[in-house]
Amino acid sequence: MRTRLRWLSVSALELWLPVALLLAWWFASRHSTSAYFPPLRYILDGFRLDWLSANGAHNLRPSLTVLVAGFGLAVIVGVAVGAVLGLNRTVERATRPLLELTRAVPGVALLPVFIVLIGIGTDMKILLVASGAVWPVLLNTTDGVRSTEPLLVDMAVAYGMGRWRRLRSIILPAAAPQIFAGARTALAISVIIMVVSETVGAQGGIGYFLLAAQRSFQITDMWGTIIALGVLGYLLNLLFRLTEAVVLRWHRLYQARLSAPRR
């Protein structure tokens, strides 16, 4: 009973501000006649029609394909290359200037280059997302792998653990919290590049819809798409956090045990 009350008061504390902001928007825009800021009621209607419908699913599918494939590719390549660089100090130092130079290219700036090289298909979009999102994963993996507690690694060697086994059961788990932090930044970058990449080639997708709405002055559709992107971003982040909570459960428990005696 008491825990439930406590839970209620915590949610009330977290919820009052968003609710107040939404109400403020609703009432402030109720009689709005400004073309750019339509009443929230119309925006929500448009959102329902455009995105919570078969039409919405049709527009979401290409976006999610690009996002999931591009982000997935970035994580796989980032962890693989990052692990190699983290384990091998010489290789890391030899390639550092080249990596710094490549990393400095803002992902979106490569869009025109990729169009010329690969075309305007889905492949290009996936590769563009991956090429921009790979860096935070790669750098964090390198860092995480390099700062693995050396005692653990030495012990694994002493127990005759093979190289591969050591990487899989000691080094990568130790680096996992940092890899996740990098992947989270990568996810945010992926969404940005996904939206921008969809403005070329008329194959649908959220970015295409957003630009089309603005160009044809469908202001409520535009606002609806902004809300859809917000919801998508929030849900992706939630999904990511759930995955992280499951995968890194051991880490949280370990941290809690470390800090427990101090209290």
Binding site: P97, A104, P112, V116, P150, A181, I192, G207, M222, G233
Partner: protein, 294 residues
């Protein structure tokens, strides 16, 4: 705010790990001055290898430009001569100036609003809990979603780019600042009180040094995002700057020029990374994660 994407200051791993990660080939130099020539020789050898790696990358680029369908990839020589020619024109420097100015305004506004805002929110439990859900939702809205709104309100101008830039750049700073204020050690405040150190002394000698590492991490992440969004706004929305030049070179089928501008964008990125690194070393020279590099 335990869910910060960026976490603590760089290398907050255990001190043991920090020591262990000290590069093996720097140990002689760190241990004493006696081995300087050996260290210096190793340094030049490594520089040679690093240059060789870059040379190999350029060679691969050359090879690709040779086999790629005519003109789609200009050779490194062609690109560099184009870049050299552009360096003499005012078009390039105007574009670079516009992009750099937008970046600077963006990061300055975000720091000026985000750092005090985040610290104030973090200083109060009530404010932290109340804003958690709102911040979590708003910062997950992809900033590019606001480009059409900016275009409608202001057209392809700097204001439009700044709307995009600020809406995306401010969050890492705010979140790290909230985190920093939460982490500030209550024992230190008690110690300061016991020794009757004034509030002002506490602020400048204990509170600010304590929060700086966290805030700097936020700023570092924000600086990169800020440049990405500046170029995105220019490329996507057509506001003047390096991004637009890349776009118009592509539309005009001028591939060497497009590559030259992409290289210019990369150089800007490199400049931003270097500036942040220098600022971090200046402000955080005392911090364990930087001391080891000294």
């Amino acid at each position: 705010m335990t869910d910060s994407a960026v976490g603590g200051p760089p290398g907050t791993a255990s001190p043991v790990a920090a020591l262990a990660t000290m590069p093996g080939d720097q140990r002689p130099a760190a241990a004493g001055g006696g081995n300087r020539t050996g260290a210096a020789r190793r340094f030049t050898a490594m520089t040679g290898v690093q240059l060789a790696v870059i040379a190999v990358a350029v060679a691969i680029w050359w090879y690709i430009s040779d086999v790629a369908s005519a003109g789609s990839v200009p050779s490194p020589a062609r690109t560099l001569s184009e870049l050299a020619a552009l360096l003499g024109t005012s078009v390039l420097w105007t574009a670079v100036g516009q992009t750099a100015t937008t970046w600077l305004i963006g990061i300055a506004v975000c720091a000026a609003v985000g750092i005090p805002g985040g610290l104030l929110i973090g200083a109060s439990h009530f404010a932290t809990d109340s804003t958690r859900l709102t911040i979590d939702f708003v910062r997950n809205i992809p900033p590019v979603a606001l480009v059409p709104l900016g275009l409608l309100l202001w057209g392809p101008t700097r204001s439009m780019v700044l709307l995009l830039v600020i809406s995306g750049t401010i969050w890492p700073i705010v979140i790290q600042s909230i985190y920093a204020a939460r982490q500030s050690e209550p024992q230190l405040r008690d110690v300061a009180r016991v020794f009757q150190l004034g509030r002002r002394w506490w602020l400048t000698h204990i509170f600010l040094p304590g929060v700086t590492p966290f805030v700097m991490t936020g700023l570092r992440v924000a600086a990169t995002i800020c440049l990405l969004l500046t170029i995105t706004g220019e490329l996507f929305g057509g506001a003047p700057g390096v991004g637009t030049q890349i776009q118009s070179a592509q539309v005009g089928n001028d591939n060497p020029q497009m590559y030259a501008y992409v290289i210019m964008a990369a150089l800007l990125g490199l400049l931003v990374n270097t500036l942040i690194w220098i600022a971090q070393r200046r402000l955080l020279g005392w911090h364990p994660s930087f001391r080891k590099r000294a």
